[in-house]
């Protein structure tokens, strides 16, 4: 049972000092040497710890040498989940690979890295109450905190914290009564929340796939601009991270946002005059092309351990030369990508694109003026029927390309469904999304295996050109190709089953009913 630790706000440091004197006069408390600390808070870009109701804080004493702790806390800061000594000079980001907390944090963080959120300076004055046996029965702490902001220290708060001891209730009752009589106000907000409020940080608010709220009767051009603006926001949020690459997920989210914008532009043809958007379509194609190689290598490296695990134990080490090659190539591609994302071409694209997105002028095309729900229904039906036709044409003898094409068509359908989700009741949507997701899963696996086999062969050729050639590595890679081939065949075998769910009369009826005769959300409610 964690005892409540009441904390009271004290308006100024002067008042805090005189309060401490009064407390010392009334109660048998003795003062301990004061302590100075600096706290740095960490989380991932997508607030994984915060979403888990947790915080990570490095606490470093600044008044004594060589004392630094890494504390993994509950969000309220009331409970230390675990802590361990940490090297003073290093930031948590540098030392994460070696800290004792790593095995516990890794499952939450992977594959994201930690970023520092903010730093505060903490001054603590401690008072202790001991009984006749010299046993501590209560602690009182006066804590003054300041926030580091743009190289300056900004006052945060002064607070008196009462730390009661279990089994010794009387001292804390007496001190709390005294505080209330002094007219002190009990604080409910934690330090983390206070600083987030001050810095206008909204942890947990980042959404890589933002939920759109479109108006069913609105114009299609307005809806398309909203869709594009949402994707662009995600691109912007990840732009710097994609350049600096502290982890792989900035690029992933940046790339997905580009792809969604590109898909929206391509699929909703006729909403804007072609000459108005042609340059943008080219720019998105360029971005897709530029982000591809790094992402592919990232995926390889992220999955590397699982590849290794597929080989017999004695051959696992043979793949290391391959890992080194991937790392070298990845570093090269990342450099090129960072250059592209800071290039004049990107800046020009981004500025023209911004003008287009913020332009309120209605589109001159009939497609642009059409009611968005009607456009969406038509597009969704057409896209679904296309997937049906492509899937039905696939049999045992069909080439792999047929499955790749179907995968792309399904992806387009999925994007359309996500763009226009808000125009229909959520429940209805679930019924059609589920069989689509199952089909995409199998097609995705089929495609991944095929792409990976292809690149393994290419990498094998690259390695073979290097001197000296580690022969065992090539053998191990060959074994990997055959494992992937096997998995690809399994995914293909599952295809008929997952496609039959997607093409069932029930799913077809659902699509037709939902999109042929548009139902208003209000009507169903």
């Amino acid at each position: 049972m964690l005892l409540k630790r009441p904390h009271y706000q004290i308006p100024s440091l002067t008042e805090a000092q005189s309060l401490l004197e009064r407390i010392k006069e009334q109660f048998p408390l003795t003062e301990l040497p004061s302590q100075h600390w600096e706290y740095v808070y960490y989380d991932t870009f997508d607030s994984r710890l915060f979403k888990n109701q947790q915080l990570l804080r490095q606490e470093t004493r600044t008044d004594v040498e060589d004392e630094s702790w890494l504390c993994w806390l509950s969000l309220t800061g009331n409970r230390v989940l675990q802590r361990g000594r940490s090297p003073v000079q290093e930031s948590v980001i540098e030392q994460l690979p070696s800290i004792p907390l790593r095995p516990l944090l890794e499952p939450i963080l992977h594959p994201r890295s930690l970023l520092s959120l903010f730093k505060i300076s903490v001054h603590q004055q401690w008072l202790v109450w001991k009984n006749k046996d010299e046993k501590t029965v209560l602690r009182v702490m006066l804590e003054s905190t300041k926030l580091f902001r743009e190289n300056q220290l900004e006052d945060l708060q002064n607070r008196l914290v009462i730390l009661p001891f279990r089994g010794y209730p009387k001292p804390s009752q007496q001190i709390n009564r005294f505080c209330r009589e002094e007219g002190l106000e009990e604080l409910n907000e934690d330090l983390f929340q206070i600083v987030c409020g001050k810095l206008e940080l909204k942890p947990g608010s980042y959404q890589p796939k933002p939920k759109l709220k479109l108006s069913p009767l609105g114009r299609t051009d307005q809806a398309l601009r909203s869709i594009l603006r949402a994707s662009t926001k995600v691109m912007d949020l990840n732009h710097q991270g994609t350049i600096e690459a502290p982890d792989t997920e900035f690029l992933h989210d940046f790339r997905v946002a580009c792809r969604r914008a590109r898909s929206a532009l391509n699929q909703l043809k006729g909403v804007f005059p072609p000459e108005q958007i042609q340059d943008f379509r080219d720019d998105f194609a360029w971005l897709s092309d530029r982000t591809g190689p790094t992402r592919d290598l990232d995926v390889y490296l992220l999955d590397f351990n699982s590849y290794q695990a597929q080989l017999p134990e004695e051959q696992q080490a043979d793949l290391e030369a391959f890992r080194e090659l991937l790392q070298t190539e990845n570093a090269k591609e990342q450099k090129l990508l960072a250059k592209d994302l800071q290039s004049k071409r990107y800046q020009k694209f981004r500025s023209n694109w911004e003008d287009f997105l913020t332009d309120q002028t209605p589109s001159t095309t009939t497609g642009g003026a059409a009611e968005v729900r009607k456009t969406a229904s038509r597009r969704l039906l057409r896209s679904y029927h296309r997937c049906l036709a492509e899937g039905k044409a696939i049999d045992h003898d069909s080439p792999d390309e047929a499955l790749h094409d179907l995968r792309k068509s399904c992806k387009k359908l999925r994007y359309l469904l996500e763009f226009f989700e808000s125009l229909w009741p959520a429940k209805e949507f679930q019924g059609i999304l589920k069989p689509l997701k199952a089909l995409q899963e199998d097609l995705g696996q089929f495609n991944d295996c095929s792409v990976q086999q292809e690149s393994l062969k290419n990498f094998g050729d690259m390695l073979a050109k290097q001197q000296p050639v580690p022969a065992q590595t090539l053998v191990a890679m060959g074994m990997l190709v055959s494992t992937l081939n096997q998995r690809q065949a399994e995914a293909r075998q599952r295809f008929q089953a997952s496609f039959s769910g997607f093409a069932s009369t029930r799913t077809q009826n659902r699509f037709n009913l939902l999109f042929q005769q548009p139902i208003l959300v209000e009507e169903l409610n």
């Binding site: 049972m1 675990q82 046996d133 010299e134 046993k135 001891f165 279990r166």
Partner: protein
């Protein structure tokens, strides 16, 4: 909640020093830790400056008249609480004999604390009694300090035999050398020989040291007054080694 009993049939082998110091390191890392001083001598209670008394004594405790939670006292160390000893614990065996299913009694008493603590350390009295059997039933791990002497090893053999005969398989047994004096030939010899015979010997040894003896004067775990001493480091290492045998919390 993992229950670790610091146990040996023999007395004076460093059981209390083990439970107090391991519990301290566990709490220091942030784990919610409780130490239950089951020894009527109350040494662990003394080390934490708590009065060795519980309301109603053993009888009220075993009858379940008080919630165990109401008897707990915070120590001076963050995250570390203590269930104090009481002189009446000396008759615990007789009282246990009077209860139904005496072997399960301790386990039942501790079960309501499962959500409150990550680790519970039981500081056990010596002997192989009814209370010991109740401890075996409750514990997930028996941490067994052994002095590298013939007598101490003889009692270890007795414990191993007892465990085998009674088919007690619900706890792990982690044995380590305590009060080891490398200056003594016999200690050195036994420390080399025994781990070969009993493979579950831990790698960490706790050296014989004056710092550990000073715990009674300082009334605190070793790390609190001799942080950089060999003994403090040895207990820290021992905790890491013991922890590796437990599920992550």
């Amino acid at each position: 909640m993992q229950i670790l009993a610091s146990y040996n049939i023999k007395g004076g082998v460093g059981k209390t020093a083990t439970s107090v110091n391991l519990a301290f390191h566990s709490a220091h890392e942030g784990a919610r830790t409780l130490i239950w001083d089951l020894d009527p001598q109350g040494a662990a209670t003394f080390y934490f400056r708590v009065r060795p008394k519980i309301k109603g004594g053993s009888r009220a405790l075993l009858k379940g008249r008080h919630d165990l939670a109401d008897l707990i006292k915070a120590t001076d160390h963050e995250n570390l609480d203590l269930l104090p000893s009481d002189f009446s614990y000396r008759t615990m065996d007789l009282l246990l004999d009077d209860t139904k299913k005496p072997n399960e009694r301790l386990k039942t008493l501790l079960s309501p604390l499962a959500g409150e603590y990550d680790y519970v350390f039981l500081d056990c009295p010596p002997g192989l009694t009814l209370l010991s059997e109740s401890i075996f039933e409750a514990a997930n791990v028996l941490v067994v300090p052994v002095i590298p002497t013939s007598l101490s090893l003889r009692t270890l053999k007795q414990l191993v035999e007892f465990r085998r005969k009674k088919q007690l398989r619900n706890f792990k047994m982690l044995v380590f050398f305590s009060m080891a004096d490398r200056r003594k030939q016999l200690h050195r010899d036994l420390m080399q020989m025994m781990p070969r015979k009993y493979p579950n010997f831990l790698k960490t040894n706790i050296p014989y040291s004056t710092e550990i003896e000073r715990m009674g004067i300082e009334r605190a775990p070793v790390s609190c007054f001799a942080e950089n001493s060999k003994s403090a480091q040895a207990y820290q290492e021992l905790w890491q080694e013991v922890k590796a045998h437990l599920p992550a919390w």
